[in-house]
């Protein structure tokens, strides 16, 4: 295939780079890192949570707060809404990653939804994924400063496709997962798993720079903050 030619190209490009640098210089550069690496408040502190909520709402995510498991159950049920029986007579389906908390899964089932469990080894087919009413996942970390939720593909967050194709994403974030700044978030993440950083529902500003929420990704993003007293 391209192996022989591109290996020639590899040496050629690297030689050109070295040649260029021999003309323009290779003095080592000192990198100043004077920027903030932590915010004014600790992870999970009430002020950190308030900031996250403010940022999420600003970018048109819907936010619920649940002080405990009982409130979480209510919040999940509220977010899903009433199941509307499909024309086929089947119950509407919700997809969940294989490692999602069993109690949450029971809540979804109890609310009258069919639960589709997705995993890397047993994925829900794409066309089926396109028909589910919602996906419920946990998260890896949330960054208050920017209103960002990071999913890293762990078993309670799942394959990237399940949080992409359904039109409604319900994401449960624990208060202790909420950090203040981007550097705090990056420090908790590794390159081991594919990541998706989500800041509000999908959006476009391509038409006259006016923002339209909800293009190809989920048009509704609901975030349930657990362990944060409803303010």
């Amino acid at each position: 295939m391209t192996a022989s030619r591109s290996s020639g190209a590899r040496e050629h490009v690297l030689a050109r780079i070295r040649g260029a640098l021999s003309q323009s210089g290779t003095d080592l550069v000192e990198i100043p890192r004077e920027y903030r690496t932590v915010g004014p408040w600790k992870p999970g502190a009430p002020a950190t949570i308030e900031l996250l909520v403010d940022r999420l709402v600003d970018y048109k995510a819907i936010v619920h707060r649940a002080a405990d498991v009982a409130e979480l159950t209510t919040a999940i049920t509220q977010s899903l809404g009433a199941p509307t029986t499909l024309t086929t007579g089947a119950a509407p389906a919700v997809v969940v990653p294989v490692g999602l908390d069993a109690g949450w899964v029971d809540t979804i089932r109890a609310a009258g939804f069919e639960v589709l469990t997705d995993s890397r080894t047993d994925p829900v087919p794409l066309d089926r994924l396109d028909t589910v009413v919602a996906v419920v996942t946990a998260a890896r970390v949330a960054i208050a400063d920017t209103g960002t939720i990071v999913l890293d593909g762990a078993d309670d967050q799942g394959r990237r496709a399940i949080t992409l194709v359904p039109d409604h994403h319900i994401c449960v974030v624990r208060a202790d997962q909420v950090v203040g700044t981007v550097p705090e978030g990056v420090a908790l993440l590794t390159a081991d798993c594919p990541q998706t950083w989500i800041s509000g529902p999908s959006a476009t500003s391509d038409i006259e720079l006016s923002r339209v929420e909800g293009v190809h990704g989920p048009r509704t993003l609901e975030v349930i903050l657990v362990g944060a007293a409803a303010g």
């Binding site: 890397r120 981007v182 998706t196 293009v215």
Partner: protein, 499 residues
């Protein structure tokens, strides 16, 4: 209605090429700008869009207390990347390969296109979906694919508007910034094939039409092509920053992913994301964070494309790298903040630059990527497409001193022209001025002539049109009326006794 023709393709195709060169127009910037400035619709669209995005950026940058410290770090990190480019590229290649990706190297656009074509052919597919990517614009990939019978579908809304409109991108971030909602509606109704008949020009309705149009493509496509915003050398991770979710669709659902990336887009370490994920979104779309960022490292079994190819592209970057000052243009992270603040870009739009990289950064990057062949080369005119006001430097998240680069490149263009036998207007005028000013008597005589200028300027106090050769000046800008009295006559009158 036939008023929605927009900006016609004025670039004459190079007889050598079937398709226009993505990095070089057929006219100099002043010639092309003159056409573009005549389009009042274009000017209105640009004025509106750039003022909106400027205000958004300013608001979210002002809320970051350590913005300048982030810029300093960003600038130094990119300078460090340039110095250590060979070792960082080898490290990236090693990490990507270890995680199941395949790395390819391309010396130029043709080689990159050939590699991508072979990779697509190996899958047996004849259609691919694309994430918005400047690198693939730069190499003319869509046209190269079309030539061999592979259809490339742009999935970013603005790129879709450009593609359906048989148009050219005019902005790095918002390639259809030159189109207003009514024009976009016309394009969709005419070209999309499945646009709802009652489509209005509401941005929401237009975005939903694009969603419906692309949905099946996303779910069925086997091959996707992307660029990359960042590649992290010490982990082999690639990052794509986007808004609509089309990027996630392309990066997640197909079986094969091919990413084309300029060799300069590296970051040395994972930690460096903490700087660039703050700098880029706020500078680019004026958001605290863009809606979606995807990061992946090689292939992840059971999640996403199971075949991943990374094409590392030179295409002139090593030419730019050889210049001590000029290589700073390679620090660019393609945020487009400099376009939005540029008084020249705001009026001419992106097409006048003749390159897929327009605006201030385009004016310093394009001529360095292509090299210039002297006076007649349209790219030799690009360093002059600026007032040197410095706004671009102020907003650049990695502190590229674009005004200094422009001045350096202007000097280079003048040097390239020194060997010319026939002097151009500029050097003839300079020679004449030198002759006049080197002699007191000649200078005094010339000063007397300024009285004529006052007559020409008249009551409005400006001279807007003069005969040749002075018309070369007045065609582009007014000349202020000369003062009633020269400095030397004033001095003689007021302080003559002291001299």
């Amino acid at each position: 209605m036939t008023t929605f023709l927009g900006v016609p393709l004025r670039r004459k195709p190079d007889p050598e090429l079937r398709h226009p060169n993505p990095l070089r127009g057929s006219e100099s910037f002043p010639q092309a700008a003159r056409h573009e400035l005549g389009n009042t619709q274009l000017r209105a669209n640009l004025a509106h869009a750039t003022s909106v995005i400027r205000a958004k950026r300013a608001a979210v940058v002002n809320e970051v207390p350590d913005w300048e410290a982030l810029r300093d770090a960003g600038s130094a990190i990119k300078a460090d990347v340039m110095v250590r480019l060979p070792e960082l590229l080898e490290q990236l290649e090693e990490k990507v390969t270890a995680r199941g990706g395949v790395v390819h190297w391309a010396r130029d656009a043709d080689e990159a296109n050939r590699i991508v074509i072979e990779l697509i052919r190996a899958t047996g597919q004849t259609e691919v979906i694309k994430v918005k990517s400047m690198a693939t614009q730069e190499i003319g990939l869509n046209e190269a694919l079309e030539d061999v019978g592979i259809a490339a579908f742009e999935t970013d809304l603005a790129e879709l508007i450009v593609q359906l409109g048989h148009d050219r991108p005019s902005h790095i971030l918002v390639p259809a910034i030159h189109r207003n909602r009514a024009e976009i509606r016309e394009i969709f109704l005419r070209e999309m094939g499945d646009a709802p008949p009652g489509l209005t020009d509401e941005p929401r309705a237009l975005a939903m039409a694009a969603r419906a149009h692309l949905r099946r493509k996303f779910l069925q496509s086997k091959v996707a092509i992307s660029g990359a915003n960042f590649a992290i050398a010490d982990t082999g991770t690639l990052a794509v920053v986007e808004s609509e979710g089309n990027g996630r669709m392309c990066l997640t659902l197909p079986e094969t992913l091919i990413t084309v990336m300029g060799i300069e887009k590296l970051l040395p370490t994972w930690q460096d994301l903490e700087v660039f994920m703050q700098l880029l979104p706020r500078s680019s779309t004026g958001e605290r964070m863009n809606p979606y960022t995807s990061m992946w490292t090689g292939v992840t079994p059971g999640d996403g494309p199971q075949e991943f190819h990374l094409v590392l592209l030179d295409n002139g970057r090593t030419r730019a790298l050889a210049d001590t000052v000029g290589r700073a243009a390679l620090h660019c992270i393609r945020c487009s903040a400099c376009l939005n603040v540029c008084p020249v870009y705001e009026r001419t739009g992106g097409h006048a630059y003749g390159s897929v990289y327009p605006g201030p950064i385009g004016a310093v990057l394009t001529p360095q990527l292509t090299g210039t062949t002297g006076h007649g080369d349209p790219n030799a005119s690009l360093p002059y497409a600026s007032t040197l006001c410095g706004a671009c430097y102020e907003v650049c998240p990695v502190k590229i001193d674009i005004p200094s680069l422009l001045v350096m490149l202007r000097a280079r263009m003048v040097d390239e022209d020194r060997g010319r036998k026939v002097p151009d207007g500029w050097s003839a005028a300079m020679k004449a001025a030198s002759w006049v000013m080197s002699d007191a008597g000649r200078f005094a005589a010339a000063e007397k002539l300024t009285g004529v200028g006052r007559l020409v300027a008249g009551k409005k106090g400006r001279i807007s049109s003069l005969p040749f050769p002075a018309s070369k000046w007045t065609a582009a800008r007014d000349l202020p009326s000369p003062p009633a009295e020269t400095f030397r006559t004033w001095w003689a009158r007021e302080r003559g006794d002291q001299s």
